[in-house]
């Protein structure tokens, strides 16, 4: 066990899996010589050479589709998007080809591929670079989607994603890249997809979140504990599809009050589905309507003042939590 950053955890996962399986390659813009736009792949080119760490031109449709074709042939490519926002120019390759080839071939083909990169706001890069398409991916049968929120999860879930035989979209977060945490150094430290994590235990209110919103939820839990003596349970979904519905229902049955927090825009966001599932399966356990904090429903703003309000922040989440108590 060592304390490392989320970025280093991803780097370790990539390095270990490339060493483990000759079919694994990392490709994307600036992943090699430049060492990664966010330095996630730092040192990998030196270690594995250009056949495994493949610098691509700015050409998402071609290299995403190339990776899908290679995966159909049995390779296990890891495709880095500098930002998940850039997947929009490769939409057909991910959402048609990677997602549907297995089904359309009646199960003759499978696509063991990972698409990864940051999908978050909060860095003042404006509307085109701040998309959080986990809801798009989760809305597409054939794709899996995960949003690790800690360094340990980043490593363990990335390794699981690379070993997975289906397409997995890994949504990271540039703000989390510097987050430090304890991470096992075991080469076989793999966290199965579809298992939520109880980030903190509590009894008065459940906050269910994914991605960086988990960190915000934990801060709010601390405030509520310190200032209002309220006990908050925080459930980190970790994986959106597959979804740990049991863990969701368990915390709802325990606290009977639920606040959902996510950086997704609200309409058809991930939490719209979670709210539906809660009312369907645990209606009688609810003492209050399910509440939600998502991004403010406009294109992502550039200005710090606007964007810091737009994405779920401590004060907005706290205010919504108070409405439930």
């Amino acid at each position: 066990m060592a304390e490392i950053t989320y970025r280093e955890a991803l780097n370790q996962a990539l390095s270990e899996e490339i060493s483990r399986d000759p079919n694994v390659v990392l490709m994307g813009e600036e992943v090699g010589q430049f060492k990664g736009s966010y330095k996630v792949s730092e040192g990998l080119l030196e270690k594995f050479g250009p056949e495994k760490i493949v610098d691509t031109p700015i050409s998402e449709a071609a290299f995403s589709g190339l990776a899908v074709g290679a995966a159909m042939m049995g390779m296990r490519p890891v495709v880095e998007f500098m930002f998940w926002s850039f997947c929009y120019v490769a939409f057909d390759q991910i959402f048609n080809n990677a997602a549907s080839v297995r089904f359309m071939s009646g199960g003759l083909i499978h696509v063991p591929i990972v698409f990864r990169g940051p999908a978050n706001g909060g860095t003042n890069v404006g509307a085109t670079h701040s998309h959080t398409p986990e809801n798009f991916a989760a809305n597409t049968p054939g794709l899996k989607v995960i949003c690790p929120s800690t360094p340990a999860d980043a490593k363990g879930m990335m390794k699981a994603a690379i070993r997975d035989n289906d397409p997995v979209c890994v949504m990271e977060n540039t703000i989390l890249y510097n987050l430090k945490g304890e991470v096992p150094d075991d080469d076989d430290f793999v966290i199965p997809l579809g298992k939520a994590r109880l980030a903190c235990e509590g009894s008065d209110l459940s906050i269910i979140a994914h991605g960086r919103s988990v960190q915000v939820a934990l801060q709010v839990a601390e405030t509520l504990h310190d200032k209002h003596n309220i006990s908050v349970e925080v459930l980190d979904l970790r994986s959106i599809r597959p979804l740990d519905l049991e863990a969701i229902l368990q915390t709802v049955r325990k606290t009977n009050r639920v606040l959902l927090v996510e950086e997704n825009k609200p309409f058809c966001g991930v939490d719209a589905q979670i709210a539906y599932l809660i009312q369907e399966h645990a209606f009688d356990h609810l003492d209050a309507p399910v509440k939600r904090v998502s991004a403010i429903d406009v294109p992502q703003a550039y200005s710090k003042v606007l964007e810091n309000f737009q994405i779920p922040n401590h004060d907005r989440v706290l205010a919504k939590a108070m409405e439930l108590l």
Binding site: A62, L66, G69, R102, M104, G106, I109, L245
Partner: protein, 380 residues
């Protein structure tokens, strides 16, 4: 005609020399490609087989059209009638190491690689016995055991996939190349140019074959594309390119063989434009009355029908008798008819089977690595 053939890589270009280009509508090539070694090597039996393959595709397509009109086939049905020599000629020079992928007009390629008429027709009927268990339909046939990677519905969406197949071959240092078929309409999609750039930059053994049938759906080439010939666009990326006649099976074989040699020996990509023609509308739903004349279609059928031309050729070579030709035709019709009967008699998929073939993991629960809920509305 100046620049009728052009190759940017002089060292690689030798094999392409003397390839004529005749735009659609002009006089057919007078060059006799039967004298080339690739065609000289053909045994009589093999020539008859190639002829039969083209006939089988045509009769299959005609039978599927009838089934569509009878209401047994839904959705779209893009027929390959008129283009048969392209798929059959191309596949005939592939080795077991080579791979093939195409767009939505895929029945001809499927039959050419050896897919059974029964499984193809049953797929069109949406039956469980179809090649994709009724889940893919007309545009999405696959046979990975025959190195046939589909059958793709989005125009040019398969062009990066073909690149990826070539990439995997090269990365693993295995032999072979990928033939990636596309229509003339696909040449205007960005994914194609991005793919050409990477194909050239990384020297990948992929051959883009533009089956130019003159129309991007109902839009004639002159109305959809600036700059002719379309294959010349390879120039911008230093990719070898050339233009060929798709009505001459011998010419198709020669062109593909040359490109395959380049891909196998130098890992060089190519763009081949093969000028051909489709007799039916873009799909069966296309009434085909707004954008071309009946005379144009009849003219092509009369002068350039690939099956007739090849039959005449091998009859004159003494390989085929008229009697055998008739027998082969009857046999192709019978086979197509039997496939329709097979499809009709086959069961539809069970509703519970809807949930299969989405994720490898849910299809293989014993080897599942993860947990949690994968489906949120289920048929079982």
């Amino acid at each position: 005609m100046e620049g009728i053939y052009h190759d940017t890589d002089l060292e690689d270009s030798q094999v392409f020399e003397d390839k004529p280009v005749v735009p659609l509508g002009e006089t057919p090539s007078v060059k006799d490609f039967s004298a080339l070694p690739v065609n000289q090597a053909l045994e009589a039996e093999e020539k008859i087989r190639l002829y039969s393959q083209m006939l089988r595709i045509r009769r299959f397509e005609e039978r599927s059209l009838r089934a569509y009109q009878q209401g047994h086939i839904g959705g779209f049905l893009h027929l390959y009638i008129g283009q048969e020599a392209v798929a059959v000629g191309s596949v005939s020079v592939m080795s077991g190491d080579d791979h093939i992928i195409t767009a939505y007009r895929d029945h001809g390629h499927a039959i050419a690689v050896g897919m059974d008429m029964d499984e193809c027709m049953a797929e069109l009927f949406g039956k469980r016995t179809g090649c994709s268990k009724g889940k893919g339909g007309s545009m999405h046939f696959f046979a990975p055991d025959k190195n046939f990677w589909g059958g793709h519905g989005i125009v040019a969406g398969q062009t990066p996939l073909g690149l990826g197949i070539a990439y995997a071959l090269k990365h693993r240092k295995t032999k072979g190349a990928c033939l990636c078929f596309m229509g003339d309409g696909a040449t205007n999609q960005g994914a194609f140019y991005e793919s050409l750039n990477l194909a050239s930059l990384w020297k990948l053994p992929v051959i883009y074959i533009i089956e130019n049938n003159g129309y991007s759906m109902g839009t004639a080439e002159a109305r959809h594309s600036a700059g002719e010939p379309l294959a010349r666009r390879g120039d911008a990326f230093d990719v070898n390119w050339s233009v060929h006649h798709g009505h001459d099976l011998y010419e198709v074989r020669a062109a593909i063989k040359d490109a395959l040699d380049l891909a196998r020996e130098n890992s060089s990509p190519s763009v081949l434009e093969i000028v051909t023609y489709r007799y039916r509308g873009h799909s069966v739903a296309d009434p085909d009355q707004t954008y071309r004349s009946k005379e144009e279609i009849e003219e092509y059928k009369k002068n350039k029908d690939p099956i007739n031309l090849f039959r005449n050729k091998i009859v004159s070579e003494g390989v085929l008798t008229e009697e055998t030709a008739l027998q082969l035709d009857q046999s192709a019709k019978d086979e197509a008819e039997a496939s329709a009967e097979f499809a009709l008699a086959s069961p539809f998929p069970e509703i519970s089977e809807l949930m299969d073939d989405v994720y490898w993991e849910t299809d293989n629960p014993d080897e599942s690595l993860s947990s949690g809920q994968m489906f949120f509305e289920s048929s079982r």
